[in-house]
Symmetry: C5
């Protein structure tokens, strides 16, 4: 999975019928210093994430293994909201403190 | 999914029989400022997209989860036309206004 | 799918038995100006492509959705020969004229 | 598979229910000289790896082929701890000696 | 598939049980001039390749389509040893002559 931050939202009315009812969020990958890196990906939200939150997203066929996304043409899904992570023994992010 | 803009069309008569009747469009990824970035990918169109429109496309096995593309040798599909998206609370694109 | 040009051929006698009888071609991705970009990939040919031709290839599990490649350890397949493509209303390639 | 080193840990309480009970580790790819290269990925641990260890991880649908990860929205898994590897006849890493 | 050269070996005793008995080799991608490019990947060997040989490897779910790798957490497999390949009519590699 990849560490990312929710940076925006997206609205689409004309879409594959299998996508009805799915919330789509814009996510940008972050590195250990919480800097946004790389490009924006559009993820289906399976966990009720909000803008600014640090999340984990899965890509590829694994993105269809949540209840919300099964058998749907979805290739990126947010499947966890991060509470804390540390690298080399140093806490890099704590939810609430570093948002 | 990836944000892209439809930039062209493609015609092929000699192809896998499973591809008969599928419309193929050339799509280029865009960033939050609507600039075209990265390379051209060829997507099957599952939603009736037209040239110039901002769309979402899915890649990999997820591209075979639409009615049009099931069990076909297709690895990129346009599965939504974007009406609007915003990043950090700022509207980056509104269909009709920014095309 | 990705736009590419067939640039070469490959012979292998010691290989997985599932690969017997499959023709393998070397393909290099091209951009809208027909310049070869990126690295060489080795594709199984599902449509009878020849050296120099502009083709579409699919990658990943979608490469196993042709009759020739089903259930085989193949991750790139040529599934169409391109007749013509255009970008922003300009014809970039016409088979026969631009080969 | 990719060679990586476990560099950190991650805690998440709000997540897809299918992820309950899975340990998630932060891993950074390494090259033949053991230098960390590329970005951090978050892997489910299927083998009891610890921080600092050199491991192999698999990505994509193959990451769901372990007992721990079957049918779960997981796209990276640590499936082996490396004891030793050599390149061009030179031992690059021996567990215990080079950690 | 990708053209690569076998550059090394790897030993692991603590691993997913599904990996028992599989030989793992380090492979580096090569270009048309046989130069090693890109990073090292760890492939399961399905064809009895040896160090220094030019091989083809498949990635992703296609890597699980060999007898050796079925249903195993393997995402790269060597599925052919290359005898010869040519680009633009020029022979770039002949096994035995260019090893």
């Amino acid at each position: 999975m990849i560490l990312g931050r929710v940076v925006g939202t997206l609205v689409s009315t004309r879409k594959e019928s299998e996508l009805e009812g799915l919330k789509m969020l814009l996510v940008r990958e972050i590195d250990a210093s919480l800097s946004e890196v790389g490009k924006i990906v559009v993820c289906v939200d399976a966990v009720g994430a909000g803008e600014g939150e640090v999340v984990l997203y899965a890509a590829g066929s694994s993105a269809r293994q949540t209840k919300a996304t099964q058998n749907r043409p979805v290739d990126h899904v947010i499947m966890a909201i991060v509470d804390q992570f540390e690298v080399s023994g140093r806490v890099c992010y704590t939810k609430g403190r570093d948002d």
